[in-house]
């Protein structure tokens, strides 16, 4: 059932409304195993909601979501979630815990529990990979800058070496050099560790650095999807307006 041709993530006709607001109106998306998918799209088009649907944090009104060939509602939920790492758009760090315990959260309890000392070492190593020095390990999240918090969130997402990683705007709020470091890290996680990644970003240089495939969400559906190499030559006017950041085009500037 789970050979390499089975896509890691497959969404079919996923719809979601909040009250009268139809955010997703039938999203179809396929992410092959071991590849990096980047989702682009205007602010408020439902990119974050799409990721949350896959994780089961938001229940879609319609449609099916398969992970590794299995419907996401089948089987054990803990085992399902253990395959994922997620960086939330706002970081979502636990502010009652010091940084290292945030990063090592999964390693300090539950099925992946390790000795405290070892968990701390892993946390410091992951912090180093996102460009943070060991002395932030004992700080509390509220003492860090926004960009540092984002990177701690990133370290937490990759701490348990998950198979599937979701990054919601990993480079927003980072300086260009740090953004480059994070782009390289995401690429490395996919190519070296064979993970499957889904990233949301507004930064077109990140898209080019991270993506194998790109999907553009607009008006509740995937308007365009394809390999990153075909993005520039694609004829879709929505996509072209978006990647070149033009104010004029089919996408209204006021939404």
């Amino acid at each position: 059932m789970t050979n390499d041709a089975t896509p890691m993530i497959a969404l079919e006709g996923v719809s979601k409304s909040f009250g009268r607001k139809h955010v997703l109106r039938g999203v179809d998306l396929i992410v092959p195993k071991g590849t990096s998918m980047v989702i682009i799209g205007g602010s408020g088009t439902g990119k974050s909601v799409t990721l949350k649907c896959v994780l089961g944090l938001v229940e879609p009104d319609a449609g099916t979501i398969r992970v590794d060939g299995r419907d996401m509602h089948e089987g054990d939920r803990d085992a399902f979630l253990a395959r994922f790492g997620m960086l939330f758009q706002g970081g979502a760090l636990f502010d009652s815990l010091p940084v290292w315990q945030n990063v090592a959260f999964r390693l300090l309890r539950g099925a992946l529990k390790r000795p405290r000392r070892e968990a701390r070492e892993i946390a410091i190593e992951k912090l180093r990979r996102v460009g943070l020095t060991p002395d932030v390990a004992d700080a509390f999240p509220a003492e860090l800058s926004g960009g540092m918090q984002k990177r701690v969130g990133l370290a937490r997402a990759i701490a348990a070496d998950p198979e599937i990683i979701f990054f919601d705007e990993p480079t927003t709020g980072l300086d260009p050099i740090m953004a480059g470091v994070i782009n390289d890290l995401i690429r490395e996680i996919v190519t070296e560790m064979g993970a499957t990644a889904m990233t949301i970003t507004h930064d077109m240089s990140s898209v080019r650095a991270i993506a194998d495939h790109v999907a553009m969400l607009h008006d509740g559906v995937i308007k365009w999807t394809g390999p990153v190499s075909e993005m520039d030559s694609a004829a879709d006017p929505f996509l072209q307006q978006f990647i070149h950041g033009r104010a004029e085009g089919p996408i209204a500037a006021v939404r």
Partner: protein
């Protein structure tokens, strides 16, 4: 507007109230079941015990002390109207242990603990920390709610016990220092008068009020709306609900224990 419109309005609010009670009951049952099912988060439970119990001692002690003292003065002056000043020790003891100890401690816990639980959990909800917990394979009911509920159930009866003792001491202090009571006789009268049922009812009330206070904080926090406004509403709602439910439960329990 038709004549039946007000009826519809009443009907809808009654239905909504029942639905709310149902949701709280289901939430309470789920939270309670998580207390008994592994995995257990001992560190969280210890922290909750510390926050709810130990750190509430000063405010509970102060409340009980002043109330006991005021009670002694009132009973003395009120009792003087029919020459019954001598009953101060007995009435202070009964008043504190059966009624004021549990109720005042419960209300102080609602103010101090329910509000902080609700604000903390609501902020976690609003900043996606609850979602983050779920993605890290940790059940928020187990990690956030169960330890706080357990701490409320275990530690608030102890606080009530402490409050009862300090309240009686407050009455003793006022009575012996300014009302001319003999210190040893006051204590003897108190101890001779109190019955086991008085103390048991006090502790049972404490347990119930602690459970209500913790549960309301968690429930409103977990169901908070979005943004700072959501956190504000959750906090306000939790304290209102906890205070009213504590007073209602007090009435019920007093009926159960003493109207036999």
């Amino acid at each position: 507007m038709s004549l039946t419109a007000p009826l519809g309005l009443i009907g809808r609010s009654v239905l909504r109230a029942f639905a709310g009670v149902g949701r709280v009951a289901i939430f309470a049952a789920r939270a309670a079941s998580h207390i008994f099912r592994a995995p257990f988060y001992g560190r969280e439970a210890l922290n909750a015990l510390l926050q709810i119990g130990w750190l509430s001692l000063p405010v509970v002690g102060m409340t009980a002390l002043f109330t006991g003292g005021a009670l002694a003065l009132q009973i003395y002056s009120g009792g003087a109207r029919f020459s019954a000043e001598a009953v101060v020790p007995q009435i202070v003891a009964i008043g504190m242990v059966r009624e004021l100890g549990p109720v005042l401690v419960g209300l102080m816990i609602a103010a101090r603990v329910t509000s902080s639980i609700a604000a903390e959990i609501a902020t976690m909800k609003v900043t996606e920390q609850i979602d983050a917990l779920v993605t890290l394979s940790t059940n928020p009911m187990k990690y956030l709610v169960a330890p706080r509920l357990l701490a409320g159930l275990v530690v608030v009866p102890l606080l009530v016990g402490v409050g009862d003792v300090i309240g009686i001491f407050g009455g003793w202090f006022v009575a012996t220092s300014s009302l001319g009571f003999n210190p040893a006789a006051y204590l003897k009268n108190t101890l001779d008068f109190l019955e086991p049922l008085d103390v048991i009812s006090s502790l049972v009330k404490g347990c119930a009020f602690g459970g209500i206070a913790a549960l309301m904080g968690c429930y409103h926090g977990m169901h908070s709306g979005r943004g700072a406004q959501g956190v504000g509403r959750a906090t306000k709602g939790s304290v209102e609900a906890a205070a009213v439910l504590i007073l209602a439960a007090n009435f019920l329990l007093t009926g159960v224990f003493f109207s036999i």
